[in-house]
Amino acid sequence: MTEQKKIKPIMKKEPIDPDAPFLRIEKLNKWYGELHVLKNISLSVQKGEVVVIIGASGSGKSTLLRCVNFLEKAKDGKIYIEGKRIRNQEKQLNRVRQDLGMVFQHFNLFPHMTVIQNVMEGLVQVKGLPKDEARERALALLDQVGLNDKAEVYPSMLSGGQKQRVAIARALAMDPKIMLFDEPTSALDPELVGEVLTVMTDLAKLGMTMLVVTHEMWFAKEVADRVVFMDDGVILEEAAPEKMFSAPEHERTLEFLKQVLPPQAD
């Protein structure tokens, strides 16, 4: 039976809970030297849910996001994707990361490649798609983010907003099950924020599971299913946006929201 040999051996199976949240973070701790940046963080994201993390700079929200796909290694704690524990093992990570689309604050496009090559890179080099197929898919994705006319230019010719949309298309190309956004609009000129948020909103409407770190309170209010407020390395509270923005439980949350929200005009 040579047929059977071709089937890849399945990794040792761990019992998978079918009702498990899509992403579960359990008691994560992270130190930078003496600095305890994540203190026993636990957080779950359901399939199709949009969770927005807010908080002051230095509160640990970006670090948390980066720990999810192991760009930062947490000291202890567990991360589960679809009920399956993710360990700090290169092989597993290379596979799992394809399911975790990441969008960075500073875009991190590959400057030596054209826009379409950026989007195709993962498809060809990681997923092993033939070039013409990858190209077709990349063009469709560029269309989705409204940039199909920029396919052949280099990233340096794009505005910040356009760069970030390409970065989103590049992440989407891997057909991820969740998208992680690490302050995707923080490096943009104010007038370019809207186009990126629009793409993200559309993505949410399509049912994409999203974990977003942002300072855009508008996005948290309008698009999030749940808002998480982080302060000093802990999740101080999490609630539906209506509740979070109208009646937060903690004094510290109120204080933060007062600072970031424009004063009510009445």
Partner: protein, 224 residues
């Protein structure tokens, strides 16, 4: 007897100039092969230095320490004379090996610098797509690093070209040796070494121009 204002027969230079053509060709060849070998060694040692493997990075560090800290002439003599008890290497291969080993250490540092100058976000973006570390290095980091290394590599190439004159000490019939031979057979040392100097200047000029062209062409994609 009338005093000659200039004690040398500079008029002899043009007619003797092309007697150095073949020697110049040797200079070009040992430089080219030496630098090529140096590029290979340099890349391996640079990646070695950046490796997470302690043994490999220590070895690479030691290589740079030893080679960069000793004169090329010593290295040349070790290859050509020193190794004779084990293996005899002809002058030209000896020169190529010594130049390659020597330049490898410098080129390793050039590569290491340019690899480290690539923003860590590039590696993170590649890894977040599911690329392995080595693939990310090959596809994303090195192409950008090579580009940044070009000016320094060009500089190193010019240094190597001039350093190749040391091969005259182990009887490689390159420019410098030719100059010495022509000098001693005609006693026109000044004239002959001026010719040698002009040949080097010509070759370094061509290299400078070529490097400049390459740099300009590589600038296409990054304007930010």
């Amino acid at each position: 007897m009338p005093m000659k204002i200039i004690p040398w027969d500079l008029g002899a230079i043009p007619s003797r100039f092309f007697l150095f053509g073949e020697a110049a060709w040797y200079t070009v060849q040992i430089t080219a092969l030496g630098v090529l070998l140096g590029l290979v060694i340099g890349l391996i040692v640079a990646l070695g230095r950046l490796s997470n493997n302690k043994t490999i990075s220590t070895f690479s560090r030691a290589y740079i320490f030893l080679i960069r800290g000793t004169p090329l002439l010593v290295q040349l003599f070790i290859v050509y004379y020193g190794l004779t008890s084990i293996v005899t290497i002809a002058p030209i291969p000896s020169a190529v090996i010594a130049l390659g080993v020597h330049n490898g250490a410098y080129i390793a540092e050039i590569f290491r610098g340019s690899i480290q100058s690539i923003h860590y976000g590039q590696m993170e973006a590649a890894r977040s797509l599911g690329m392995t570390r080595s693939k990310a290095m090959r596809r994303i980091i090195l192409p950008q690093a090579f580009k940044r290394a070009v000016p320094s590599l060009g500089n190193q190439l010019i240094i190597a070209l001039k350093d190749s004159s040391l091969a005259s000490t182990i009887a490689v019939p390159e420019l410098m040796l030719r100059g010495r031979q022509m000098g001693s057979s005609t006693f026109m040392y000044m004239e002959m070494f001026i010719i040698v100097g002009i040949w080097y200047l010509l070759m370094t000029s061509v290299l400078s121009y070529a490097i400049h062209r390459i740099e300009t062409r590589l600038k296409v994609s990054d304007r930010d």
